[in-house]
């Protein structure tokens, strides 16, 4: 089965997941993002690349942060941006997902940025859009958040340069985290030799070893000698369903404190996809400390999203 993200010429025409994306395409996206980073320093932050193109932000799941960064990225490419916040339950009472897509395509949409609570929704959309329309996944269920994975990789490359001699630890609720899956897949694609996952058994899905990671339940053990620590957000819903007793207990075992961070390498960087729950997965001293590169992630996020949209918009769908 052909990778639905690539066209016949092997070019990226949709970005749905980092799973199965060839290494040279991932590197190409990072390199392209690098050409967009300096734009943020200019007065005129726009380039005319997507002038005349319509980008529709289809957010079936609310997210002001991610939607805003995509909006900024699209506008800096001179595209026309339209935001649609489609509440999932109202969609199910009315129009089907595919009907919504058809209607929007009829309005000359060129690119859909989609966030949906169901894993696989962007794949379904990509199968049904017209040939000149491109789909960028802004997060689907637990499955993937490819632009976040890419900007995390850009951040690591910016500070650490070489992927092939790093130890990276991903900490937290991997089970429910699309960011974790995208990060893990990107790290292994880029040749990171040691990818560790740290969390309680209730939050780590079975079968993780197949993704090429080492599983740790003891955070101290898992952080030892790490070059990069990626902290995942713990959502409040996890206290239900008997996954965790309380945020306080979680912080005790898996919160990143200065003491625990000291077990990693002295020049280790601390990352977080945001928004942070201070005192739950990370203590303020670390979040505001000199090893945290969280704000840089946000800056790089715009350039990475500009790169992704430019690359897919320029590829045909054949």
């Amino acid at each position: 089965m052909r990778n639905p993200q690539l066209n016949r010429h092997g070019e990226l025409t949709h970005l749905l997941t980092l799973d199965g994306l060839p290494r040279d395409i991932v590197t190409h996206i990072l390199d392209t993002a690098e050409t967009f980073v300096p734009l943020a320093e200019r007065d005129v932050k726009k380039v005319p690349l997507l002038r005349g193109k319509s980008v529709f932000n289809l957010f079936f799941e609310n997210s002001t942060r991610t939607r805003t960064t995509f909006e900024i990225a699209a506008k800096r490419l001179s595209a026309d941006v339209y935001n649609l916040n489609i509440n999932a339950s109202s969609a199910s009472k009315g129009e089907s997902l595919l009907d919504t897509i058809s209607n929007l395509s009829a309005m000359q949409a060129d690119l859909f940025v989609v966030r949906h609570s169901a894993s696989g929704a962007p794949h379904l959309i990509a199968q049904h859009v017209a040939p000149h329309v491109h789909v960028v996944n802004a997060g689907d269920g637990w499955h993937a958040h490819p632009t976040q994975g890419l900007l995390d990789m850009y951040t690591i490359r910016h500070f650490k340069k070489d992927f092939t001699n790093l130890t990276v630890a991903v900490v937290g609720d991997v089970m429910h985290s699309r960011v974790a899956r995208s990060d893990i897949l990107a790290l292994t694609t880029l040749g990171v030799p040691e990818v560790r996952v740290i969390g309680p058994m209730t939050l780590l899905p079975g079968g993780l070893e197949h993704l090429g990671v080492r599983v740790f339940h003891d955070m101290a053990e898992g952080l030892r000698g790490a070059d990069v620590v990626i902290m995942l957000r713990l959502q409040n819903e996890r206290m239900r369903g008997a996954l965790l007793p309380s945020p306080q207990e979680y912080f005790k075992h898996y919160g990143l404190t200065q003491a625990k961070l000291a077990l990693a390498k002295p020049d280790a960087i601390v990352m977080h996809p945001g928004p942070m729950n201070r005192g739950v997965e990370i203590e303020s001293a670390v979040a505001d400390g000199k090893q945290a590169v969280i704000l840089k992630q946000v800056t790089f996020g715009i350039a990475v999203r500009m790169a992704v949209m430019s690359i897919v918009a320029g590829a045909s769908n054949e």
Partner: protein, 430 residues
């Protein structure tokens, strides 16, 4: 009384092991000659079956026909035609219609409709509890009198073990069979795919194999103290099948079936979130499929069924976890059985037994003695099949209103040319 002469076909009857070139002579609804014409037999019509196999009409232990209640998806008539196009002449209906089959009146209505249509034979399963709610027992006696062959909870999982115990005691008292799919009410209750590395990779909520094995342990324990006859529906895991194997060795009165999709597909076939592979039970791993095939070979699994579930476009063209589970199967049961037999080197007679004689045995006294068999004096329910013909599965070639199957686009072997029920030709491919 119409007299038919079916000439020159390869007659295969798994029950007797017969696989030879024989003519068949039919008078009215009976087979009056097998190989030898009866004395003074003048046929009104001859059917040329040269180059074709003559099989007993298939017996499908699970086919949803969507009536009553879901007529926008499919109707009794459309799906019976689909059954006949697939050579299925006897079908068992799960009770999860709307309303559920918990009233004798509904059963009578269904049987009446089926008789009027005069197509395939319908064997409804009665609901084991009222509304399938798992609280109060249904009037199993009256439902049996109306035509139910056994009792089932369909896909609605029983939570109260005490109700399960009472249902088994009651059924055993009167000799009724209970058809249950082993599923723990809590494990994997929000799951949509088999727990494992593929579900983990795709970010899909998982259903562990333990959901099946724990339920099996419970069922077997209760069976040991009640003696109730159980038919276990749609086994899916290697561990589950091993438990069934041991239960049968122990002498417990248990039979089981597997859905035809699980004979072929595994979790990896979900690919890029293909909702056609959204099925209940979920498609499991390669190891589990191998165990299913081994269990079919050694007879641990009695029957293969289609688990025919017509789903409309609006319910299927959705993200994987939101899509309605189920696939169309009546017209694929024979072809997919032939494909499995060819792939595994299973002898044809043995393979066909799983969709003819063995399911008929599971149904026991609820069906005609000659159901699933081609036998002198038996009912003339049979299918004329070109075993070699390949056909392509697509919306046009499918008769069912349910056009969704993981096998869309596949070329499959075996095409039914004609189907007879009670000696009448009820399907002929143009």
């Amino acid at each position: 009384m119409i007299k038919l002469h079916i000439r020159g076909g390869r007659v295969i009857d798994p029950a007797s092991g017969l696989d030879a070139s024989h003519d068949i002579y039919i008078a009215g609804d009976r087979i009056v000659g097998l190989g030898q014409a009866p004395a003074d037999f003048t046929p009104d019509r001859a059917i040329d079956a040269s180059g074709l196999a003559v099989l007993p009409g298939l017996v499908d232990l699970a086919a949803r026909l969507r009536e009553p209640g879901f007529e926008y998806r499919a109707t009794l008539e459309s799906e019976m035609h689909a059954a006949l196009a697939g050579g299925v002449t006897s079908l068992v209906l799960p009770p999860d219609t709307d309303p559920t089959l918990d009233e004798p009146g509904l059963i009578e209505m269904l049987k009446h409709r089926a008789r009027q249509l005069n197509l395939a034979r319908l064997y409804p399963l009665g609901a084991m509890t009222i509304g399938l709610k798992g609280e109060r027992l249904t009037e199993m006696g009256q439902l049996t009198a109306a035509g139910c062959v056994a009792f089932s909870q369909a896909e609605v999982v029983l939570q109260d073990t005490n109700v399960l115990l009472r249902a088994m005691q009651y059924a055993h008292t009167f000799g009724y069979s209970l058809w249950l799919r082993p599923q723990d009410p809590w494990l994997g209750r929000d799951g949509v795919a088999a727990s494992g590395h593929y579900a983990a990779r795709l970010g899909l909520a998982g259903i562990p194999a333990e959901a099946e094995t724990i339920a099996l342990h419970t069922l077997f324990e209760l069976q040991r103290i009640t003696g109730a006859r159980l038919h276990l529906c749609r086994l899916s895991s290697a561990a589950g099948l091993e438990l069934v194997r041991r239960a049968r060795a122990e002498g417990l009165p248990v039979t089981c079936d597997v859905g035809i999709h699980h004979v072929h597909l595994i979790d990896l076939d979900i690919g890029y979130f293909d909702a056609h592979c959204r099925l209940i039970p979920p498609l499991r791993s390669q190891r589990d499929r191998d165990a299913i095939r081994a269990a079919l070979a050694d007879g641990t699994i009695d029957a293969i069924c289609s688990d025919h579930t017509p789903v409309d476009d609006d319910s299927k063209l959705l993200p994987f976890s939101e899509a309605e589970p189920g696939a169309t199967g009546l017209e694929l049961l024979l072809s997919l059985t032939l494909k499995w037999a060819a792939e595994t080197g299973t002898p044809l007679v043995q393979a066909l037994a799983r969709i003819t004689q063995r399911p008929a045995q599971v149904l026991g006294s609820g069906v005609l003695a000659s159901c699933g068999r081609l036998v002198l004096g038996g009912t003339a329910d049979l299918a004329l099949v070109d075993l070699e013909a390949m056909w392509r599965v697509d919306a046009d070639s499918l008769t069912s209103q349910g056009k969704h199957t993981p096998f869309l686009g596949y070329e499959l072997p075996g095409q039914v040319r004609q189907t007879l029920v009670g000696g009448q030709v009820v399907f002929a491919r143009s």
